[in-house]
């Protein structure tokens, strides 16, 4: 049986680990709440924008817009959204795995991967298909202060590289947020725009006055809706990260308390055995004297 002191140190160490994991869980829960609020905040905007866009584009042909036009898929850009920090279960690995699958599917030669977040940076650091200098490199800092404006600069660069013809298709790989415990890995096509096949509910074709003109509004709105789409992916990923970390830390805390329970049992058994031994020795000694 392990000696008493060893077990005692073990219990202390597991205890402090448990404190850390439960603190991390708490922090993640708070951050998750905030990230979730941001997702909810954003929803009315996205919905309204989509509604206006479909209203405006219903009567005119948008197929010639550079962002809508489908080109031959020669160069494909994968944007992999991961977090900067680990300890969140399979969150980052899932994205990396999915990205690698896609790379294999399309063939390495036609693909470029743009990592966002330190974990993806590390994973694709040495691969031949990593994004070159013509794309924004330091996007990991985006996660520190995630807001629409910061994300926009990245989206704008993506859009301009698409317009220039550097890429013919841009896919975003990210964790979409379902609930705190469940994240769904998604590979969403950002560009060219997939036309939402929403034959919208309110087809009460109101006669809108368009200023300046339908075409110009469309040209104005499409980049905006792209930004919103990408920003939504980022927000989703952030919320998923905190959700994933919360779940992971919750499990770790549970495991730690389970472990402590077992250790305490062994400790007490060992303690009792030691006491019994002592008593036996004393009784044995007394017997010998009497005998």
């Amino acid at each position: 049986m392990a000696n008493l002191k060893e077990i005692r140190t073990r219990i202390t160490s597991v205890n402090s680990t448990m404190q850390i994991t439960s603190a991390m869980k708490m922090v993640s829960a708070a951050k998750l709440k905030r990230a979730q609020n941001a997702v909810v905040q954003m929803r009315p905007y996205a919905e309204k924008l989509q509604e206006i866009l479909s209203n405006v584009s219903s009567s005119i042909d948008t197929a010639d817009n550079p962002f809508v036009k489908i080109r031959e898929e020669k160069n494909i850009l994968l944007v992999a959204l991961t977090s900067n920090r680990g300890l969140c279960g399979g969150f980052n690995n899932n994205v990396i795995k999915k990205t690698k699958t896609l790379v294999r599917e399309y063939g390495e030669s036609s693909i470029t991967v743009l990592p966002v977040g330190k974990k993806a940076n590390d994973a694709f650091k040495n691969s031949s298909y990593l994004a070159k200098d013509n794309l924004p490199q330091n996007s990991a800092s985006l996660w520190d202060d995630l807001n629409f404006e910061n994300v926009n600069s990245l989206t704008e660069e993506l859009m301009s590289s698409y317009e220039n013809g550097d890429f013919d298709k841009i896919i975003v790989v990210y964790n979409s947020f379902k609930n705190a415990a469940v994240q769904i890995i998604k590979a969403e096509q950002l560009l060219p725009i997939v036309k939402a096949d929403s034959v919208s509910e309110n087809t009460d074709n109101t006669d809108y006055i368009f200023e300046p003109s339908q075409e110009e509004i469309i040209v104005d709105l499409i980049p905006n809706s792209l930004k919103v789409t990408f920003y939504k992916a980022m927000l989703d990923s952030l919320a998923s990260e905190h959700g994933a970390r919360m779940t992971a830390m919750h499990k770790a805390t549970d495991n730690a308390s389970e472990l402590i329970k077992e250790l305490k049992l062994t400790y007490n058994k060992a303690r009792q055995a030691a006491i019994t031994n002592e008593i036996l020795e004393i009784v044995g000694g007394a017997e010998a004297l009497n005998g």
Partner: protein, 77 residues
Amino acid sequence: MNLQIITPDAELFSGEVDSVVVPGSDGLIGILNNHAPLVSSLKSGQVKINNAGDEKFFDVNGGVVEVLKNKVVILAT
């Protein structure tokens, strides 16, 4: 009429107003009650709200406005 100003990060304003002036890309557009349905893109400028003499201002950096059945929605960026 009802006015909503929303950005992707937050809802800036929501409530009843008498009039609102928005910086349309072809010039300022004043919107009063019972305005005809309108969709206009915005350029950067100031949104001016008037509610019974009480004026409020918001700076926007472009966006789009939709007016429909006494409901004004400004999607600002």
